[in-house]
Symmetry: C2
Amino acid sequence: MDERTKLEHARHTLAHLLASSVLTHYPDARPTIGPAIDNGFYYDFDFSHPISSDDLAVIEKTMRSILKTWTLVGSKTVSKEEALALFADNEFKKELICDIAEKGEAITIYTWGDFQDLCRGGHAENASQIDAGAFKLTHLAGAYWRGSEKNPMLTRIYGLAFATKAELDQYLHDQEEAKKRDHRKLGKELQLFALVDEVGAGLPLFYPKGALLRRLVENFIIEAQERRGYEPIWIPHITKKRLYEISGHLQKYDALYPPMELPDEDSYYIKPMNCPHFMMLYKENPHSYREMPVRWTCTTTNYRYEKSGELSGLTRVRALTQDDCHVFCLPSQIEQEVNLMLDMIDETYRAFHFDNFWVRISTHDPANKDNYIGNPDVWRTSEEALSRLIENRGWTHSTGVGEAAFYGPKLDFMAKDAIGREWQLSTIQLDMNLPERFELEYTADDNSKQRPVVIHRAILGSTERFLGVIIEHFAGAFPLWLSPVQVQVLPVGLTHTEACKQLADQLTAQSIRATVDDSSESVGKKIRNAEKMKVPYMLVIGDKEKDLKVLSVRKRGSKDTIESTREDFIRHATEKIVSRSHEL
Amino acid sequence: MDERTKLEHARHTLAHLLASSVLTHYPDARPTIGPAIDNGFYYDFDFSHPISSDDLAVIEKTMRSILKTWTLVGSKTVSKEEALALFADNEFKKELICDIAEKGEAITIYTWGDFQDLCRGGHAENASQIDAGAFKLTHLAGAYWRGSEKNPMLTRIYGLAFATKAELDQYLHDQEEAKKRDHRKLGKELQLFALVDEVGAGLPLFYPKGALLRRLVENFIIEAQERRGYEPIWIPHITKKRLYEISGHLQKYDALYPPMELPDEDSYYIKPMNCPHFMMLYKENPHSYREMPVRWTCTTTNYRYEKSGELSGLTRVRALTQDDCHVFCLPSQIEQEVNLMLDMIDETYRAFHFDNFWVRISTHDPANKDNYIGNPDVWRTSEEALSRLIENRGWTHSTGVGEAAFYGPKLDFMAKDAIGREWQLSTIQLDMNLPERFELEYTADDNSKQRPVVIHRAILGSTERFLGVIIEHFAGAFPLWLSPVQVQVLPVGLTHTEACKQLADQLTAQSIRATVDDSSESVGKKIRNAEKMKVPYMLVIGDKEKDLKVLSVRKRGSKDTIESTREDFIRHATEKIVSRSHEL
């Protein structure tokens, strides 16, 4: 058995152990369902009297004491009647038993000590496999019986469980760290963005510092694209319904905002993606094989009506600005074009310090060839090329056979942030469908008309989500090149303000973003404020520094002040900006 | 009598003359109405048989021959009955006569030779005032009687008329020139933008060259703003209805796209303007007088459902990207802030070679003080400041008393293009209304809460419209800094292609936009193609130039080739780009 399955079994066993402990303390509580989940387990109970989270400690303690002698006595298959008799006072279990019987499946009862539970199996083989220090009950929540709000509300007890105490501690530490890094909290503190009721959920507005961060991130991509021969186009944010009839999105895309209906014209939609606009622009002019590949990009905002319950800060939004790219190419150009995209992904992840990532290669299922459109040769050669390209770079990857869309294979890039959480960032998707639906063509060298292949690609995913991720990745303490304010100049007294302004102007002229804190606070308070705003460099200017020859430099997070000539400081900062260094 | 009125009288007289000539040739035609208009006149007739534009020459000739002896015999006031008798067989005139009588106005009849017409007056005093060479019939059009489609369709004959033949010729020449400069025609030829049926009218898509032009224009403004301490923010393109209830736009703004209606949530609108979003973001945080003025900008696209009949290329669109700016300031800062905006307008018009412009100052009507909201002192001082600022710069201006909006005075900038057509570009508008509606505040130095004043401002108006204007202003032959392709490198033969690519790379590395024409065309054809695309510099590379030491440079519009070392050429081009020169 692999470690993963073993852990899942332990978690499942802990759910039963939880139920056993609960019944020790609350004999009239009725256990219902208790599965293993990511990072732990839960169990839903019907309590006769409400319990509170203060009660969890004693339940957890009892779990540990039962665990010492906790052994699986055995399991048996019983008849429906026997099972119903066993759980005569538990309507919930009885409902489950009837469902299992109706499906004609076996009803199994597992027994540990004097506790028995209805269960399909999948447990730890013995209690010694479970580390008593590696689990922890965390919190209570309300949960409807079987997830339906028409049913009674039950009490769910959540627990964490890992293979070792060290892993549990790491997880708890990471959770604490994640809370500190929460981009919604930092977004407010660092004055990056706001969510405004009157504008709407999932539609963030960005203050100047956040808007600057957007531009830095977007321009990084735009410039990296430009160096590689990609050309920006521009498309409007709305379209007539007709476009989505052609593309097929009207029928199958479910996050469309409702249409803007007009009495005497086709209705309009706000675009949830850019592909159809790109296809139409390609179609407007004839194309020759000589000008292929056509590499078009557009950094533009899409609108998707995601469920309000799923929205969260910048990482789940309704307004998402994609660094979108569509390459129209000959089938023989797929490999070179994907490789160019991989170069860019490599450059981008380095710049943003995502050193740990892996690639999911989604390919077609050879057993179900009929599920896919397009030329089988193109499928075969392009899937081979994708794997080869990833392997050649030595990048970690896994192949999901049968996970490709019906219109082409795909690469997804999963990057780990500074505290080990995984985020899906870049995507490269081959498309043999839209060229067909839009009847796109190019003239081949034999003068015949041919269909191009389209490659969709986004590196960041969306500006908003990427910002959410990097705010948490850097805990708001951005590398110098990404910091909205790079240098805060702090006058010791009123008499030093003029020199500070002069210095800030000199830094600005050298393309270093500098501001002066001319508030009436003390220097100590000014330093604390700059630290709170995670400004990389603080320059304190008093009598000693006011001729601006030698500066007192304080780096973010450091208690020391370093002396540096103005020239040296500018040279040093510029070097760190240009190299996109994470060090100050 | 001023020249303008004199010319209008001559045009009105020519309308009567046209009617007289028409009756000479078509005795049963029934004249209806014929006014003076901009640049000329028209007259609407009810013809018994259709006429064609071929018939205009002879009508015009007869006008000239009548004109020789055309004298105003006199005018008389007649009774309704007399008038009706005079036009017994003309239902249209009879309808007019009854209308005039009903209003109790005098019915006047004017007589020239044997032609008489119902008229209110305002003619040339005698025919000698009219230059027989200074008018010309131009075209026919259908026009409903009194403009209503429920009425009969009449035939409208249009004529041009100016004070002198030279002016007419100039106008005809300008018209011809305007046709050649038409941005819709050039937009296609230069591969700048496309209008696509499936996307919708008034929603242009931009090819790479057009998208680049957009960025050059928008970045010019963004950089000019940044140098002056303006800060970009970012706002989404949609909003909940609630925002426009607060701003009042829902009630009074008529170009809104219809709402996106949702079953269980407030509906959403795509924004037609940015002000309400700006106001909300300001309102999110407390503000102190110390941080005022707050200068926020955003280059973002708005959507306005303009009537489809009014759409035209880029100059009348439904998707308009504004270089928008809102300054939140103390009343005492209005003058300094407007002055900063005027600096930017000055810089912008110079860069885009709009040397000829004037300013319309719209002020309140002191006779109707109750029509305006806000502090009367702010009105007075700000209107004085606006006038003073414009006068100090020596800019041509006119003041429209009573033309201010109810919420603040305004400056509009009217610029003349290369062929003398006037375009409204920039606007500066004071606003004392939105701060009130959104209850905006700042904390004053005495700790009291005060309302800021808002100044709206756009320099370009909109990117789309401005592009339409400059395409026509430059007839597509943009100054070097604005040219999408700055240098086209032309290999004489296949053996020179490699050297050309090397040269293009060298130019690109020096931030000069260069492409290679590696088609199989002859050099002559390549030059013609580059000329057609209005590329500023062509570099022809043959055996003589292939070591790239001395280049053969051909400037746009010139038949000569100049020899230049590569270094000199790069230095020369860079200087022209940096200085935004119009010369090559």
